[in-house]
C-alpha cells in the first residue's frame, strides 16, 4: 500500500530529492507508531498529570479537579522525616539490587543449561515446570515458606541439621531475612524470565556454531564466544529495565512475611508508606513516595543508558 504514497504527498515538492526520499521512507514508520502513540498519550500521559497529587493535601471528597490545598513539598518532608526512613531506603536498595543481579544471572544460566538439553520434549517439560512458581501468589507462598523455614520443624532446617548446621531462623532473624526474600523471589521468577533469554538464544545464527565446531572449539568456548555475546544485548536491556525497580523491594512478598523483629533490615519503602496510609487518606503520601521512586529510577536508567552507550556503543532503547 505504502509504496504508492508518493502520489499523495505533495509537500515533497519543496524538499530536496534526497531529503524527500528520506522523509517518504520514514513516513510509514510514523503511521505505524500512530495508534500506540495516541493510546499511550491518552491513558498513560493523561493520567500522569495526576502526579500533582504529590504536591497537594489530596482529599477525594473535594474531587479530582477540585480545590485541593497546595502544600508544595510538605508531603515529601513528612515522608523523609519518618523515623528510620533512611534505613528503610537502604533496605529497599539492598534487597532490590540483589534481586536484580540474581534476577538476571540465574535465568541466563538456566537458559544456557536448558539449551544444552538435546531432547526437545525434556526441554519443554523442564521449561514448563520451572515456569510454575510464577503463578503462586505471595499470600499462598508465604504460608508455605513459613512452614518449611521454621527453625523447629521446617523441612529446610531439618535437612540442614542432618549436615550439622544449626537451625536458622530465616524469617525471624534480621541478618538472614533479606537473603530469604531475595532467594525466594528469584526462585519464583526465574522460570518466567528465562523465557526471554531462551527466545534470544534462537536469534543466534547457527552457522556461527557450525564454524566454531569446525575450528575445534568445545562447548564451553562456543558458549563464551558465541552464545553469551549473542544474547548480551538482551541481558543489558533486562538489566537496565530492572533498574526501574531499584526502589521496589517487592511489597506483596515482604508484607506477607515480615514482622517487627526484622524491620531493621526488611522494612522497605512500600511497606512503610503502606502503614502510613492506613489511618488516613493515603493518596498524597503514596503519590509522593511513588514520585520519589520514579525520579530515582529515571536517574538510574538515564545514567546506565549513557554508560552502556559509552562502553559498548549500544543504545539500549
Amino acid at each position: 500500500m505504502f509504496v504508492n504514497l508518493r502520489r499523495f504527498v505533495n509537500l515533497t515538492r519543496f524538499v530536496s530529492p534526497k531529503r524527500k526520499d528520506k522523509m517518504l521512507r520514514e513516513l510509514p514508520l510514523y503511521f505505524m507508531l500512530l495508534p500506540a502513540v495516541i493510546l499511550v498519550g491518552i491513558y498513560s500521559y493523561g493520567s500522569m498529570a495526576g502526579i500533582v497529587i504529590a504536591f497537594q493535601k489530596f482529599i477525594p471528597a473535594k474531587g479530582m479537579f477540585g480545590q485541593q490545598d497546595w502544600v508544595g513539598l510538605k508531603n515529601f518532608v513528612t515522608l523523609f522525616s519518618m523515623p528510620n526512613i533512611w534505613q528503610v531506603i537502604q533496605n529497599t536498595v539492598i534487597i532490590a539490587s540483589f534481586k536484580l543481579i540474581g534476577g538476571v544471572i540465574v535465568p541466563v544460566v538456566f537458559a544456557l543449561m536448558l539449551n544444552e538439553v538435546r531432547n526437545i520434549l525434556t526441554k519443554r517439560v523442564f521449561q514448563t515446570l520451572v515456569y510454575l512458581p510464577h503463578f503462586l501468589s505471595w499470600i499462598i507462598l508465604s504460608g508455605i515458606l513459613l512452614n518449611i523455614l521454621s527453625p523447629s520443624e521446617g523441612l529446610v532446617n531439618i535437612l540442614l541439621s542432618k549436615i550439622g548446621i544449626e537451625p536458622i531462623f530465616f524469617l525471624g532473624n534480621p541478618d538472614v531475612f533479606p537473603a530469604t526474600m531475595v532467594v525466594s523471589d528469584i526462585w519464583k521468577t526465574f522460570g518466567f524470565a528465562s523465557v526471554i533469554y531462551l527466545a534470544a538464544l534462537t536469534s543466534i545464527d547457527p552457522s556461527l556454531y557450525e564454524a566454531a565446531v569446525i575450528d575445534g572449539a568445545n562447548r564451553w568456548r562456543q558458549t563464551w564466544h558465541i552464545t553469551l555475546p549473542g544474547i548480551s544485548a538482551m541481558v543489558v536491556l533486562m538489566t537496565v529495565l530492572g533498574l526501574a525497580n531499584i526502589l521496589n523491594g517487592g511489597f506483596d512478598q515482604i508484607y506477607n512475611m515480615y514482622s517487627p523483629v526484622v524491620y531493621s533490615t526488611g522494612d522497605i519503602l512500600d511497606t512503610l508508606v503502606f502503614r502510613l496510609g492506613i489511618e488516613q487518606a493515603q493518596y498524597s503520601l503514596s503519590t509522593a513516595a511513588g514520585l520519589f521512586k520514579s525520579v530515582v529510577s529515571m536517574i538510574f536508567i538515564i545514567v546506565s543508558y549513557y554508560l552502556a552507550d559509552k562502553f559498548t556503543g549500544y543504545r539500549v532503547f
Binding site: 544444552e116 507462598l141 503519590t287
Partner: protein
C-alpha cells in the same frame, strides 16, 4: 559434522540433566501440595496434615467457587478480553517495535519515541488519576477498559524491538533493494524470523490478561462485568486483608471462616487461574526454534 562426545562432555550432560531435574522438582513440589490441599477437607488442612496427597478428598472448594452466581459470566468476560486484548497487544507491539528497531540513520526520531514509551514505565500517578481518565473516556463498565489503557505493553515491546535490532542487516537490505516497503519488509521478512520472540510476548500478554484483576475491580461497576480473577477475589477470603478493612467485623470473619476455609478455596482459585496458561504455553513453545533458517541471504 559431529564431534565425538568426550567423557567430560558426557559427565556434563548427565549432571546437567540431574541438576535441571532437581530444580524442576523443587518448582513443582509446592503445586502438588496445593493441589492436594484444594481437594482436602479443611480441618485436615488447618491442622497441617496435608502434604502431597489429599486428606478427606472433597471437591467442595472447587464447587464453592464455580457454583457461585457469577463464575461463568466472569469466565466469559475474561475469555473475551483475552481474545481481543492479546491480538491488540501483539499488533501494537509489532507496529512500534519495528520502527524503533531502525537505526538513527534510518529513522531520525526514533530516540524520541523510544523515551516517550519508556517514561510510561517509570511514572505512574496511581489509582485515582488513572480511574479519572478511563471514566472521562467513557470506558467505565466497558470491556475496553480492560484493553485500551494497557494496549501497548512497553516492556514486551522493548524485548521485541531489541530482538529485531539483532537481525542481520543484510536481510533487511535485501528486501529494500527488492523494492519492498517498510510494511512489506515487516510482514514478509522480519516477522517470520521473529517467531520465538513473538511467541514470548504472546505468552506474557496472555498471562497478563488472564490473571489481571485490579483493572476489573476498579473499572467495572457491576459484578457481571468482572473478569474472572476480579470475581474470584471476591469469593476467596484473605483473612488478614478482611480484618484490616473490617475492624469491627472480625467476629463476622470468624463465623465465615468457620464455614469455608480460606486456604482450600485459595488453592482452588489458583489452579483455575493456572490451567489455561499451562495449556497455551506448550503450544507456544513450538515457536521457540531458530528463526534464521528461512530467508537466508545470498552473498
Amino acid at each position: 559434522m559431529r564431534m565425538k562426545e568426550s567423557l567430560p562432555r558426557k559427565i556434563f550432560v548427565v549432571s546437567n540433566i540431574v541438576f535441571l531435574l532437581l530444580v524442576s522438582l523443587l518448582c513443582i513440589a509446592p503445586f502438588i501440595n496445593l493441589l492436594a490441599i484444594s481437594f482436602s477437607d479443611k480441618t485436615a488442612v488447618a491442622g497441617g496434615e496435608v502434604t502431597f496427597f489429599p486428606i478427606g478428598f472433597t471437591t467442595v472448594s472447587y464447587e464453592f467457587i464455580t457454583n457461585t452466581s457469577k463464575f461463568s459470566t466472569s469466565l466469559l468476560v475474561s475469555l473475551m478480553r483475552t481474545a481481543m486484548g492479546v491480538p491488540i497487544n501483539l499488533l501494537l507491539i509489532i507496529l512500534v517495535a519495528y520502527p524503533l528497531s531502525k537505526s538513527k540513520g534510518e529513522f531520525r526520531a526514533r530516540s524520541i519515541f523510544s523515551w516517550f514509551f519508556v517514561v510510561t514505565i517509570l511514572f505512574n500517578a496511581g489509582l485515582i488519576p488513572t480511574y479519572m481518565i478511563v471514566r472521562n473516556t467513557g470506558l467505565i463498565d466497558s470491556i475496553w477498559s480492560l484493553i485500551l489503557p494497557e494496549a501497548l505493553p512497553v516492556f514486551s515491546m522493548l524485548v521485541v524491538m531489541n530482538y529485531m535490532r539483532s537481525l542481520p542487516k543484510e536481510l533487511l537490505e535485501a528486501a529494500y533493494i527488492d523494492g519492498a516497503s517498510h510494511l512489506q519488509t515487516l510482514i514478509r521478512v522480519v516477522l517470520p524470523v521473529s517467531t520465538a520472540t513473538i511467541a514470548t510476548v504472546t505468552l506474557f500478554s496472555f498471562v497478563f490478561h488472564w490473571n489481571s484483576w485490579f483493572d476489573g475491580m476498579i473499572y467495572m461497576n457491576t459484578i457481571q462485568n468482572y473478569p474472572l480473577q476480579t470475581y474470584l477475589q471476591t469469593v476467596v477470603v484473605n483473612p488478614e486483608e478482611f480484618l484490616r478493612n473490617n475492624t469491627d467485623l472480625s467476629g463476622n470473619l470468624s463465623k465465615y471462616l468457620s464455614m469455608v476455609s480460606a486456604r482450600t478455596t485459595g488453592a482452588a482459585q489458583m489452579f483455575l487461574a493456572m490451567i489455561p496458561i499451562l495449556c497455551v504455553y506448550p503450544f507456544l513453545q513450538k515457536y521457540f526454534t531458530t528463526g534464521l533458517v528461512m530467508g537466508s541471504v545470498k552473498e
